[in-house]
Symmetry: C2
Subunit: 217 residues, 2 copies
DNA sequence: ACCTGAACACCGTTCAAGT
DNA sequence: ACCTGAACACCGTTCAAGT
């Protein structure tokens, strides 16, 4: 009844993997589960997307492609940069197990998807009078600020259920996790963390602006 | 010949795991290899350090504990903050597979080790007249800047050998990795990335300084 | 009480047959 | 050519015996 393995293309595989990621978390994404969802054996995946590592890279790429919002006519570069950054943050935070996905890559191509996603911002900055390398560097700072926030930012108290792939064991780290009794001042709510993120972005934008004005002959 | 399993404590286990991490990479760190290196079965590890996830957390904690440099008498807070940030970056960059280690945690405690490591900086800022939450927030920004840089920063061209745990397969991602022919302007050398990282830190410090001066009654 | 050996239910990846 | 089934060499974690 129609569908044979030969119809498969890489995009479908990535799609299937993202569905599993969303519904069951990263631990549930395996070459077997993904191929199973597509009704094939794991082998064809190696022809279409390469290694599992490559699959993870493609998933991240897909997640970040198209995050850049459209520029508005007459919009100041600062405003667009802010919107771009918020959009990137939103895409990252809405992805289950995103932190682990970003960290998972074995090689050094972890930033490739971010570079792709930032192309419109680079273009926007250049249109605003930035030199190419100036625009690229400014974009990098914003990426770093965003990724750092996501990787080590406030915990998401709204993400229910542990959902740890293999058999729930309620075990808790013993011994070494000495938590301050007096209440740790470094614990931020999601709202506070978001506000602080915007502060970070503003500081970076201020710095970029000053350097731009001072550095352009 | 003394050594029985009962001598084991959590620190030794973390040490052994870190040796394997350094020498063979994160893929080689398993409950079996770590326990094997210690001459025990995997079971005792679960009593001492908990899950593999807990072990990874403890490894990161260890790696970051003691990164904070000592404060110098009469040192301006900006100077100390800069040194602290560079020390953190150094610790992160010198750790094999660090990106994957940071990303590996399943729960939301990924930032705990960073909070621990930043305690001296928070203290330093408070001694310089910052309110506690002001100091904590400033520290967070610096952590985000550093972690973002590490997670998605320039590739390390100096880290030789792929060393991908299970049987070298030289396979290359096929198809989807369309690399710009014209030379990607977003490709930075290590030196450039380091310089840009310092720029980022300076921007953040500038912002913190201005907010501090403007916000203190 | 706390160990070990064996087991369970998985992995990523490859290979020999099949069509 | 390109698939499938089976296999290889692992995983994390748990459990029944042992001492």
């Amino acid at each position: 009844m129609g569908r044979t393995a030969i119809d498969l293309d890489a995009d479908e595989i990535v799609d299937a993997a993202l569905v599993i990621l969303r519904e069951q978390g990263l631990d549930a994404v395996s070459m077997r589960t993904v191929s199973g969802a597509l009704g094939v054996s794991p082998v064809p995946l190696y022809r279409r997307v390469g290694t599992k590592d490559d699959l993870l890279a493609a998933m991240l790429q897909r997640l970040l492609s198209g995050v850049a919002p459209r520029r508005r006519t007459g919009e100041a570069w600062q405003a667009y940069a802010r919107r771009w950054t918020v959009a990137l943050l939103g895409a990252l935070e809405s992805t289950r197990d995103l932190r682990r996905l970003v960290g998972a890559r074995q090689d050094d191509t972890a930033r490739e998807p971010f570079v792709e996603a930032s192309r419109p911002l680079v273009d926007g900055l250049r249109d605003a009078g930035f030199a190419t390398d100036e625009a690229v560097q400014a974009t990098r700072l914003l990426i770093w600020a965003t990724v750092g926030h996501v990787m080590v930012g406030a915990g998401r108290t709204d993400t229910a259920a542990p959902a740890n792939g293999r058999g729930a064991n309620g075990r808790v780290a013993n011994g070494r996790a000495r938590r301050r009794p007096g209440g740790d001042p470094a614990r931020l709510s999601r709202r506070e963390a978001d506000a602080l993120f915007r502060v970070h972005v503003d500081y970076v934008l201020d710095g970029i602006e000053r350097a731009h004005e001072g550095g352009t002959p």
